[in-house]
């Protein structure tokens, strides 16, 4: 009986592995829809696109901390350019996933609310 349960479970897990592979090649990133590019919209965009790596409060994680930082940037426009282009192999670029207004909104949120600049 136990053997049959394990056999059945292995079949289910094999199917789950196949589904995972299919999802890897079919699922596209989602982008939160916003109407106006302001800081609150930037917060929403940050939560859905950036917090996975930079932390919910910008405290860092897989990516570097943003809160109270960004010394290497001189202006919010630099942040927007960075968000847009990304860094190959390290951070995805968002120019194909967000409109320019959305990129500006999330950059503004990072610059003012998180970095306090």
């Amino acid at each position: 009986m136990f053997k049959r349960i394990v056999d059945g479970f292995q079949v289910l897990v094999a199917l789950a592995a196949a589904v995972t592979v299919v999802l890897l090649v079919t699922v596209s990133p989602t982008v939160a829809e916003v109407d106006t590019p302001d800081v609150s919209a930037g917060a929403e965009l940050f939560a859905s696109n950036c917090s996975g790596c930079h932390g919910p409060e910008g405290e860092g994680g897989l990516g570097p901390a943003l809160a109270g930082g960004l010394e290497s940037f001189e202006a919010v426009e630099d942040v927007a350019r960075f968000v847009s282009s990304g860094v190959p192999g390290r951070m995805p670029g968002f120019e194909t996933r967000m409109t320019p207004d959305q990129v500006n909104a999330v950059a503004q949120f990072i610059w003012t609310d998180l970095a306090g600049r």
Binding site: F2, K3, V6, F9, Q10, V13, A16, A17, T20, L23, L24, V25, V27, S28, P29, T30, S48, N49, C50, S51, G52, C53, G55, P56, G61, L62, G89, R90, M91, P92, F94
Partner: protein, 186 residues
Amino acid sequence: MTAATETTEGILWKALLLGGAVAVAAGVYGSVHDPAGQQTISLFFSNTLSFKAWTTTLILLFALFQLYSAMRMWGKMSFPRQLPSWFGDAHRLSGTLAFALSLPVAFHCLWAIGFEPDMSELRRFAHSLMGCLFYGAFAAKVTLVRSHGGPSWGLPVIGGVVFTALVAIWLSSSLWFFSNFGFPGI
């Protein structure tokens, strides 16, 4: 007509080639796929990273049972003295559970983050490499188990590679997470 029988070397090569293909496929996907940079599953954890750190820890516990039960079945340990009839199935179940739990973790690694090619980012680079090695070695191990007839040293060696890769994965992810974000970091 005579049925074709696979040689010991043939079975080993089949397992190694399949495992190599899986490892390379994971690495290529992680390199060419544009990382989504988004959270995926987090269950009752505060974020996906916390979910992954704890799930990988659970996988490591299952892997430790795999190691122990395999050593007992191969006669390298003597406890319990009498093997219960369900022991082999418990070994299979623990391995299956470990693999099942690894799927959402690997999905986030590959889909949202991708392969780190920069060797100066040693932790991320080693983690990427070990992740690919883990799935490649796992595929080779399953192929050997299912093929019946590989070399006697094949399973212990490839099983050891799977376990070693998993320990390296845990050290470069879960331990790093608990060290940097505090324990339990839920």
